[in-house]
């Protein structure tokens, strides 16, 4: 596969080309092209219904796109040697892409520790003990060492979302996708999740983050994409897009947040 150069010249870790998704005859993603370079944090903003969630879901194939390709490193997601990948192969590819959901989606029958350990245990095939050690280390990393034995229902939203991040981290992902990770949280719990994400970004994780937390985007993002109606309207560094948006639609959208 021919590597496509990213804006800053580095070989992209994630390369999305012509990604198209329809629900019925409604075009939700209209030929999206984008790249994320290694260690980069890309923030995606845009109005409700613009296709942000669908874009993330098409990248890790929770949703099957109608056209276009997604490459992570030198592998095309959902393909193997140019043919559609088997279910097992696709599962393997997914395991290297961390995904954090708006509504956490922790496994409600498992403790925090087991939520994180089940991936290393069942997907990576580690022994029970080793899997739990990995899980404990990741939970410590998101400051939840004291809450390992609690079930999701016994944790606050912010804690649940941090467990979800640890669950993805335990798979040692190459790429992290976040779908509005703080928008289901009470305002006072937002910061603890954003702090963890900021640490990840500073530590060199490659991340694509859909969020409406504009101050996070300003501080952490290397680039910001503004999406509307299934297309990318504007794509620029945060200091530019927030202070001097080029497009009228971007300006109108940002006006809601930056007054």
């Amino acid at each position: 596969m021919v590597a496509v150069a990213a804006p800053n010249g580095a070989t992209p870790l994630l390369a999305v080309r012509g990604l198209t998704k329809r629900f019925g005859n409604r075009v939700v993603l209209d030929g999206i092209d984008l790249t994320v370079t290694p260690h980069e944090t890309l923030v995606v903003i845009g109005p409700s219904g613009s296709g942000k969630t669908t874009l993330l879901r098409c990248i890790n194939r929770l949703e099957q796109p109608d056209a276009g390709t997604v490459a992570v490193g030198d592998e095309r997601i959902g393909e193997r040697d140019g043919r559609p990948a088997s279910e097992t192969y696709l599962a393997r590819q997914r395991s290297r892409i961390g995904f954090v959901f708006q509504r956490f989606n922790l496994f409600s029958h498992l403790t925090a520790l087991d939520n994180v350990a089940i991936g290393p245990r069942r997907v990576l095939g580690h022994a029970r003990r080793a899997a739990r050690e990995i899980a404990a280390a990741q939970l410590e990393r998101v400051f939840l060492a004291e809450h390992m034995d609690k079930r999701p229902s016994q944790l606050s939203g912010g804690q649940q979302q941090r467990v979800a991040i640890a669950r993805a981290l335990a798979m040692d992902p190459q790429l992290f996708l976040f779908d509005e990770p703080t928008s289901a949280l009470d305002p006072e719990l937002v910061a603890e999740v954003l702090d963890v994400m900021r640490d990840l970004a500073r530590g060199g994780m490659t991340m694509m983050v859909v969020t409406h937390e504009m101050s996070f985007a300003r501080q952490v993002a290397h680039r910001v994409i503004f999406m509307d109606a299934g297309a990318i309207v504007e794509e620029r560094p945060p200091e530019e897009i927030f202070t001097a948006p080029r497009e009228e639609r971007t300006r109108r959208f940002l006006a809601h947040f930056l007054r």
Binding site: F107, S108, R122, V123
Partner: protein, 217 residues
């Protein structure tokens, strides 16, 4: 109407012998039926369309035909296939096949009732469909499965009365034997009803206990 107490006294132990057989048959059938039902319920999510359609067809057949006919089919078909079972075991097989169909449907519905985000999260960490089913969906489906499963056990106990037609000496058949010699149908049928009622109430009670003990997440 006068009640023949002497016959009642005579009948009580005889009916207990029949009840014992009923309980044994029902326990065996619910266990075998549950095994079959869980296999069918999981197979309903198979990637193979042939498997899914076979499950669908089997469940539809069980639900769409009278249990009495299913009992006759098993009883008369098995010898033709070279399998010679006693009435007891023919009864167990028939009830198990019947319960398996219904439980398969219960398990399928229970798994379907688990919130979609659970399987998406499991896929996102790289689980295959089978792993999602076994490690994530099935454990969470257990609690919603318990009430309909008990209901099925109750149906099974009631349905076991029909085994009297193939001369299994269970509760109903035991009663009929007494009736045919002493001709006291009311007393005996009333006693039989009482026995069934007590057993079924006990099952319902145990199920509520079990349900309360199963965790709510």
């Amino acid at each position: 109407m006068t009640i023949d107490w002497a016959i009642v006294e005579l009948a009580i132990p005889l009916l207990f012998a029949g009840l014992y057989t009923t309980v044994r048959i029902c326990l065996l059938s619910i266990v075998l039926g549950a095994v079959l039902g869980f296999v069918l319920g999981l197979a309903a999510f198979s990637r193979s369309a042939v498997v899914r359609w076979s499950v669908r067809g089997y469940v539809d057949f069980i639900r769409g035909t009278p249990i009495l006919i299913q009992i006759f089919l098993v009883y008369f078909a098995l010898p033709g296939l070279g399998i010679n079972l006693s009435e007891f075991w023919a009864g167990v097989v028939a009830l198990s096949l019947n319960a398996g169909g219904f439980i398969g449907e219960i398990v399928r519905a229970g798994i379907n009732s688990v919130e979609r985000g659970q399987s998406e999260a499991a896929k996102s960490i790289g689980m295959t469909g089978r792993q999602v089913l076994i490690y994530i969906l099935l454990p969470q489906a257990m609690r919603p499965i318990v009430p309909p499963l008990t209901n099925e056990l109750v149906n099974l106990i009631k349905g076991s009365a029909l085994l009297s037609v193939i001369s299994v000496y269970e509760l109903t058949r035991a009663g009929q034997a007494i009736i045919s010699t002493h001709f006291v149908p009311f007393e005996i049928y009333f006693l039989i009803a009482l026995y069934y009622y007590v057993v079924i109430s006990a099952v319902a009670y145990l199920s509520r206990l079990l349900e309360r003990r199963l965790p709510v997440w």
